[in-house]
Symmetry: D2
Subunit: 341 residues, 4 copies
């Protein structure tokens, strides 16, 4: 069985989560997130973010984005993202499916810039065009980079100055919490709404959508149900989040993944491999010659990012299961294929 | 802790499912349902239904209904249901959210009748009105009754004669498989598309959407992703369905629930309790005097169905955790409150 | 050429409107309703309704209903109508196309009742169901009846007591203004939004959507454009409405139509024809034996409403072109076919 | 009253159209486009394009685009346009409102290129992304340029080779018919669906949507009604199109407009004015110093296109009312303001 660096959602769950699910197996809980596990998990998150936010557990990332964005925008309003944003590229038009245009600017190192936002606002000033009302960013980004606290504050302040909301997609928030200087409570202070990703950080499924802005809290369960995201057994992801929010479990998932990624980058740099982006989290984008990739794929699973004629960008993702020996094996194999010794 | 007859999704999962998840915990699987567990679970279902259907695992019932119905209907087409149908009442307008009208006729004992369908077709004959194109039924129904094989055939044949598709919601298919003479393979033969419910039959989450009609199979993953139902860890519900489809595990869940429900009905009939519907599955709708309900609620959890001035319809649901002693305790309590001995 | 009683939109326009269009033919006007004719027509309507409402001119009835309803409701909210309501039956699911459920109650004489509304509210009380937020009625109704001022007030007060909006479809408002005791200004006082129909009252096209409630006025042009209802030459329907709002032109159209309808009803009653509804406006629904209808159709155009085995309900509509001699001819023909002399 | 070069929809209609409407004023016609005028106008268009296409008359450009695109695409499918495409910029997200993403590439001189289409196709290859299914172009373009017959054929052939449909927006088709070598029948041969613009070519309102591809013709009236575009008095735009399609009336509108635009360009070039685009039709985009624009606006109406710090791009549009003396006056004024003599 070859080891997979294809993504961070290859394995069912953290051991602690499976253990906890077993412990709770004889319980009966009320449905639809009205149970005690949900209450506890919500409290644990609010403790971490030092807030009093409304929090809901939803099955996956795309449906969470749909609910968040679909609950905020009026029919003629649009969301601003960067070109590489998940909602712009990898959700099969789910946001447009709700009726909203995704306006995008060119990313710089995976990130949306104030300049892009400004240009978009300047170009959308009357009723013949959509009205931008929401900014979408993700931390970590699709290219493995992270926003710094200053960058987040700047975007948040710009948004509020221009009567826009800010939504942050935290599919890989664990990695971002480790790699960036943005702390839990900053996500509460400097976004209107964000989500803490579970699926890519050790849960079998489930994301925690956190609504900080009171205006966005109204009748929220209606949105969840209407858009198809209400889970009957809401207590299952809640139990998972009780584990993730216990101690430093969540950030530790990110820390481990980031360390493994850093180690991988360092080892590849030693043999002069170049990279597509300056990743500081668990997604690594080396550029490798095409002639070794098929053979590398015999032993390791990974994804193609940009196929070129001579060489290609591929993606390695570290996960909570990745250990130093997996990296060592991978690097050894690459060396071997490149005939380096 | 009081025992809950509120619903059949109060407990995490069957022991066998939790065990199997633990067994697989060290595996790495490809995402989005392209893994081996999904292949195996799909094969197991196809063996049961003696077919070669396309099968996808989706998080919950409402989103499954959305994907099924939203993939079939053109913008101006409508789905026919009975008034009590889940899509008509309890999905917060999710189907309308996709742009489609739900046309409904009055249920007879929880079921849609050919007469209703006929009337709806007769009333929708030109382009000023929506075009009915799909029939929606569920087995078991919302009132605990089931369609017989003859009834299913009749609806299916009527549908195909009138160029309509038939979709069957199997949120509680385990109970229906036990209580009705419709066998697994009949659901393949006599529906165009149906789903085998997991959430209400022992899974932590997950439903298996089964597409029998080749015309409806095209580019289906696009629909799943577009509507927000694509699970990154598709292998998790697939593992659950491997368990459910092993031996007679699935139908046994239904059998146990139905037996418990039958026993409850029999015991309540002994003390002359009347019922709102002729349930043969795991939902029981007794009519009880309001003056005992608050006190009953102190010891047992249940749901109000129709509140009346003197007496009310309440709902007891048996689940895979229900045992004879739970029923005995419940009946004893009711007797006590009614001062019967 | 046989005379048509098929509907009230068979002829291009009132002579006065065609004259006025000719008078203005050498003008240049700004587009999208920002012109002087629009300003004047808006003022003339506001003078009639003694208000300060926001008013927009839109091409036709269905798109006007879509814009009105689509601008008010959040994704999970629903509109209440009666079963025969135009939005419920004759708009090919346009409202559902915007994502909203149409909840309906049985009409009494073409009208929605408080009882129906009450029942619908009682049945929609939590987030598993759509949230009713808007009441839709039309005056005149689809069956030719009208709401009285008391009825309108009662519905409006009930709506506001229960945090619902009231929208009134005035496709045939001219007839209603003549037949009911509701005056122009009452439509301003006792609805949140309504429209003054042009197409069915002598315009080549165009309806005037009148927004009374300040909360519903915000960024309204965005809605019009987004839903496809923004006319480049907005000044064309505005010019038409300048004519309609001049003197008593608009109500006079309704008065003439109603008089012709009343005369027709009286003449048909003399020969013992029965009617399907108690119409007081320009739609008349006689019940006639099937064996004369084909021959009647040779000389007069009309529409079938309800086809029966022996006799059928048909619809005669009087319009601004209908004169006494048309009615006399029609009645004579019916008598002849029924062999009455 | 200052003369307006703001757009080509400032005046009600061609004299011939107003005359014809007057001639027909005593007629009664069936509604919804089932009348004889519609039949005649459809035949006249089919004669011009030497085809047997299905043709419908719809109120305006945006709703026509919505109906065309919304009738073709499945929920997860997308339309390809260039960045300046009307549907991408100036329809307030109406296409996204129907659920579809607009994918766009950078325009070259206002036109979509095969290279852009190719890149978009290469980047959208699996179910995590929308599926491109339709190409949208307009002739004339938003910048006044036109596609040549070779360019149209190339795009059409490329589209069909890659299983895409081609839709052409002909809001300003009259100008394009004059300025490009694409003849009426080529629009039938080399598009799947296109529209012949009325509103911007002398009609009070109305566009003729022409469906060439049989696959797209099915149940089309349902789409028109569902999306809100069905006109009760469909015969009114049909009468207008009877006039436009008579003799060379339609192309003559374009010819006159183009001649006036050419004359304007020539005169401005004489005084060394630069232009933003190489327009060959009735939209002209001169670059003028900001310090004269306010004073120019005192005498002439026009639109700002791109505001700069020193100079700005403005738009002059010639219309069926534009005469040589209007151009002469405008140029004289500009000279005067620039102190040229």
């Amino acid at each position: 069985m070859k080891y997979s660096f294809r993504n961070d959602y290859s394995s069912i769950a953290l051991d602690e989560i499976l253990l906890k699910l077993n412990e709770c197996k004889n319980e009966q809980n009320i449905g639809y997130g009205e149970d005690l596990h949900t209450k506890r998990a919500v409290k644990m998150i609010n403790d971490k973010i030092k807030g009093n936010s409304d929090i809901y557990f939803i099955a996956g990332g795309t449906i969470t984005n749909m609910i968040a964005i679909g609950s905020i925008l009026k029919p003629y309003e649009a969301v601003i993202a960067c070109d590489t944003g998940h909602i712009n590229v990898h959700e099969t038009g789910a946001i447009e499916g709700l009726g909203h245009k995704v306006l995008y600017g060119k990313n710089i190192d995976g990130k949306l810039t104030i300049d892009s936002i400004k240009t978009i606002l300047n170009n959308h000033t009357d009723y013949h065009m959509v009205k931008p009302k929401l900014i979408y960013i993700s931390n970590a980004t699709e290219l493995g980079s992270v926003y710094s606290l200053n960058e987040l504050k700047e975007i948040y302040n710009y948004a509020h100055k221009h009567d826009l909301y800010l939504y942050l997609d935290g599919a890989r928030l664990a990695s971002a919490l480790d790699a960036s200087d943005i702390k839990y409570e900053d996500y509460r202070k400097y976004t209107d709404i964000f989500y803490i990703g579970g699926t890519k950080n050790g849960c079998p499924f489930g994301e925690a959508l956190v609504i900080n802005n009171d205006k966005l809290k109204i009748e929220f369960q209606y949105y969840i149900k209407h858009f198809g995201g209400m889970l009957a057994k809401g207590f299952v992801p809640a139990i998972c989040f009780e584990v993730l929010m216990g101690n430093d479990n969540y950030i530790n998932v990110g820390r481990l993944e980031n360390e493994m990624a850093k180690y991988l980058i360092a080892e590849l740099k030693k043999i002069n491999i170049k990279f597509y982006s300056k990743s500081v989290t668990n997604q690594v984008f080396p550029i490798l010659p095409n002639n070794i990739l098929d053979r590398l794929y015999d032993d390791y699973d990974f994804e193609y990012w940009v196929k070129g004629d001579e060489e290609s960008v591929i993606r390695f993702v570290t996960s909570f299961t990745t250990r130093k020996e997996h990296i060592d094996g991978l690097v050894l194999k690459i060396k071997e294929l490149l005939s380096i010794d």
